[in-house]
Symmetry: C2
Subunit: 196 residues, 2 copies
Amino acid sequence: MADLNSLDVLIQALRRLPGVGVKSASRMAFHLLQHDRPGALALSRALQVAADQMRHCERCHTFTQADICATCLDPRRDASKLCVVETPADQSALERTGAYHGLYFVLMGKLSPLDGIGPKDIGLKGLFDRACDGTVQEVILATNFTAEGEATAHVISEGLKSRGLRLTRLARGVPVGSELEYVDLGTIAHALLDRR
Amino acid sequence: MADLNSLDVLIQALRRLPGVGVKSASRMAFHLLQHDRPGALALSRALQVAADQMRHCERCHTFTQADICATCLDPRRDASKLCVVETPADQSALERTGAYHGLYFVLMGKLSPLDGIGPKDIGLKGLFDRACDGTVQEVILATNFTAEGEATAHVISEGLKSRGLRLTRLARGVPVGSELEYVDLGTIAHALLDRR
């Protein structure tokens, strides 16, 4: 068998990636060493730089290398709309639609009482301060449609409802391209309720 | 959206891993930055060290940090048996069985004429020299049971058959734990032929 030490260390390190077990990690390690050493070094540098330089935007909490992220600084953005998402990945999905031109607030988590994650841990105070800065007129709740995401949206709407803001939630409904026959009943029920 | 630059560079670098597309790469990057920065730095170091230090054993061509790997140097190994495998991952699978105590020769590839990979590219000359060193008495062909693996085994057996060595191939047969009803016919036919 190939020597232990640095190969094993690499396999163990790759296993820390989400969704990567020991088999995938071995395959990745062997691939990089056998076919793509420049790729291994590029990944090494990229990890180092990102872990060193990435921090949170002071306004929206997303990842950025500057104090304030490019989205928050963009003057073409509609500052009267604030879209609340759980993670930068969710924000990125919304951005890729090209259908939203307001600003964001990234919670970097969600309420999850079972895991001991309460309102303080996801910085709801910061969100409430931001939403009540006088510029924001509409808060769009775009947390996920999971139990935790719904609970998070509920707590935020409770916290903001007396502040004179317009509070909206992403529409629940039938996914584009799908056939009713195969859509789950809860989704169809919501699509009926929210028909327009 | 989160700033480009070092986050995007990281996502692109992660995409060079086998089996990782842009969605998985984003998830990995966000996970490391959000929840496991020590993991990101550990992976960065492990990649750097492995890419710098890993080279091929002079005797068996597997990955090692020394000139000659620990397996080749182990005096308890039976040097009269030489098992030919395609990759260190295959070698590792054989080692984990605990059923083999001979030495290895790792081709680091397989014949693949369609990809322009011929006998010279996978170092068959080195294998032939090694097999005819006077110590080796049996060569066990453990290349994969794919078209390329079978072709590789065939070429090796042709090259070695006049040298007075015992040439064997891993048995083809019904996998342990499986039911005949669900095993493919080619495998059952081989299991019949190779019955003992």
